[in-house]
Symmetry: C2
Subunit: 426 residues, 2 copies
């Protein structure tokens, strides 16, 4: 096994400039929602060059929206293709999906960037740009891992299915489309920016909106009205109690360092429109975390039942129950068995390449791993080189060394997971 490690390490050293140049080209193709085609063309070209069987298609929004797990602000994906490259194995090995999203969140205010957001500028070993960490850096790790094996003439027994999907940032319609096309494997690896931590479990989440009613009155006689703001505050406190209740049940050691494993965040509170009127309506919007092994439907039901208890705390809610809506984005939770062979393999290769123990945690956010796990029946691990804290922020960057370290670990993982024709030979 040592020889593979040395071979691959050397290959990475030899192809460092090309790898960096590939990442830079991908960052310089801004792939915000609706504008993914140019970046996908670079990926497709690379896959063809390596000899993979490439499929490119625009997801069919009309079909997708019939699926219960579909969410996207759009149903038309013209100009937003998925790209999949299949490296067929020689047979008898385990298959793997390597999944990364090509879409990036908008760069926001350019004033907040020290360099133009799509420059791909390199300073002190870090490349800067929107999407470099979330998650084009991870995608390049995958491409380098495959390319190293191809160029070194290593033949895998199991299939490697590389997926460059759209729409992860908006709810996962790209991965859902790939799953519904029939792509499946024995396990999956997603190099989202974990900063080299291994996440065998991913928290899901759903957005909710709650309308809280009051009764209007003039502020000078506010006692004649009922303040929707005061009632809304009670609802917020009630939800805080639900969060405590739900987190009390989480005993998973992967969460031992997480103060609130599955938070319920109240992100928006808006009510009233006139200083001297008693507000009669408040809108709350938030995000409910869903435990990795929890069903979203169960979490929804728990929130619904919990809100019904408000009537016992305050008779106002008996007659004016808050109205709960599930809206907008949601990310399906995902997980893999901690004893799953892909976990063992990845952890071992991590140790082997970096000479230290990996940090293994549960993610505080969702990824497309949830859809792969729950819809695609493909258990998923999330592990990638990107800097977690920089995702979605101005001056997003990645440490280039990590891209190559991840590529080495992934290449070795592929050999051990899929099996290699020549494993015994060296």
């Amino acid at each position: 096994m040592k020889d593979y490690k040395a071979l691959i390490h050397q290959w990475m050293e030899d192809h460092r400039e090309e790898g960096i140049r590939l990442l830079q080209r991908m960052v310089q193709a801004p792939s915000t929602q609706g504008n993914e085609a140019a970046a996908q063309a670079i990926v497709a070209e690379k896959l063809s060059e390596m000899g993979l069987e490439v499929e490119i298609w625009e997801p069919d929004g009309q079909e997708l929206q019939k699926h219960p797990y579909f969410y996207s602000p759009r149903t038309e994906f013209k100009g937003s293709p998925n790209v999949v490259g299949v490296w067929k194995g020689t047979g008898g090995g385990r298959s793997i999906i390597l999944n990364g999203h090509i879409d990036v969140v908008p760069e926001g205010d350019h004033e907040q960037w020290d360099h133009p957001p799509y420059s791909g500028k390199i300073i002190d070993g870090k490349m800067y740009g929107r999407g470099v960490t979330d998650m084009k850096g991870g995608n390049v790790s995958l491409l380098l891992a495959i390319e190293s094996l191809v160029q070194l003439g290593i033949k895998l027994k199991g299939d490697v299915i590389f997926q460059s999907v759209v729409e992860e940032e908006s709810g996962g319609a790209g991965t859902l489309a790939a799953v519904l096309k029939g792509y499946k494997a024995d396990a999956a690896l997603i190099p989202e920016p974990t900063h080299m931590r291994i996440f065998p479990k991913q928290q899901g989440s759903m957005w909710f909106r709650i309308w809280v009613k009051g009764r209007s009155a003039h502020g000078g006689t506010r006692y004649e009205g009922v303040s929707a703001i005061e009632k809304g505050m009670k609802v917020v406190e009630h939800i805080r109690a639900l969060e405590e209740e739900r987190n009390r049940r989480i005993t998973d050691p992967l969460y031992k360092n997480t103060p609130i494993p599955i938070p319920i965040n109240i992100g928006v509170m808006e009510g009233g429109n006139w200083p001297s009127s008693v507000p009669d309506l408040v809108k709350l919007e938030g995000r409910m975390g869903v435990a990795p092994e929890e069903k979203m439907e169960d979490a929804k039901r728990e929130m619904e039942e919990w809100l019904k208890m408000l009537g016992r705390l305050d008779p106002w809610f008996e007659e004016h129950p808050p109205v709960l809506e599930w809206f907008g984005a949601r990310w399906v939770p995902g997980s893999i068995d901690l004893e799953h062979e892909l976990m063992n393999t990845l952890v071992n290769q991590y140790r082997s390449v970096l000479g230290q123990e990996p940090v293994i945690e549960a993610s505080p956010w969702g990824t497309d791993g949830g859809l792969l796990t729950q819809v695609g029946e493909t258990p998923s691990i999330v592990f990638g080189p990107g800097v977690t804290e920089m995702a979605h922020y101005p001056n997003e960057y990645i440490e280039l060394d990590k891209v190559f370290e991840a590529a080495e670990i992934i290449a070795l993982t592929l050999i051990h997971w899929c099996g290699a024709e020549s494993v015994g030979r060296n």
Copy 2:
């Protein structure tokens, strides 16, 4: 005295149709802010007809805004004249200001009105329309009171100064302009819609805005942030405690039937803009009631000091103190001595005309009486025929009988307050 009462009552009976027609014409001239000229022309014509000395002028916004009590969303009053009519007394009597505002609040959504909002339609003794209760009905009571005395040949000793002002609904710039022009009297009467209750004291109010800070974070790791919504809720609760504290001090028997004499209303709460982000800023807007005898500056200072105590309750506020702003409208509190002779006179004439005891209370809202009291040194009573609950609402109406009852009471009050040349004669 009986004869005056009978004479005036008869005069009102005889001029009922003309009075109603006058009110209807005034309602049919929509006098929202900036559009007061047509309604004021009707008033000015009426005053001239009765033989009063009429002054018409557009307030000088440039001059007015130098005054500490000026508030208006505008500083240009072109097309928005004040109208004052002076009925000079024969000498030796007490003077009075009769003040009413001509501006009306916008009619809002026409769909919510059963009849067009400026129809002045009459059904079952009630006239409907925007401004009919707040406060053109009261203004017509004043005009009928003066006209009855003029036509009956009764000569008053003291001056009667009738003021039809703009801008009451936006902060009182019209009355302030009249005060600054030098109009002053021994007392004032304002027929705002009290539904025939007598308000010797009027609550003032001020608008405030509080910015509460938090620290942003992703909702999945919300424990890394500080929710401005949760901190905002603490501020709301702290203000509720201030309201309790301030109202504990109110022992005035005029407030004995008022659950919260000087409320602090939180009318607006707005924070956050993304369900899965921890909100980093919340805006609160509200109205602080000011006691009739309280100085607005003292009330402001109390709020400012109170907010400073937040740091002791939660160290977050120590480093991130909420920012308090006084903005927008404010209404100066007003009052008259309960033993003031105009109070005695009004109460007596009320009893005499209606054969029952008047309800005497403190108002839960401000009027231009505050400016007359505090800037114009003219103590003021608020008493009028309009239906309090309908002010500012769709389907605003007034009971026409009340307009004439108020007119009778006011006419007799003028005789007794200003003195009449012929009082002894009958």
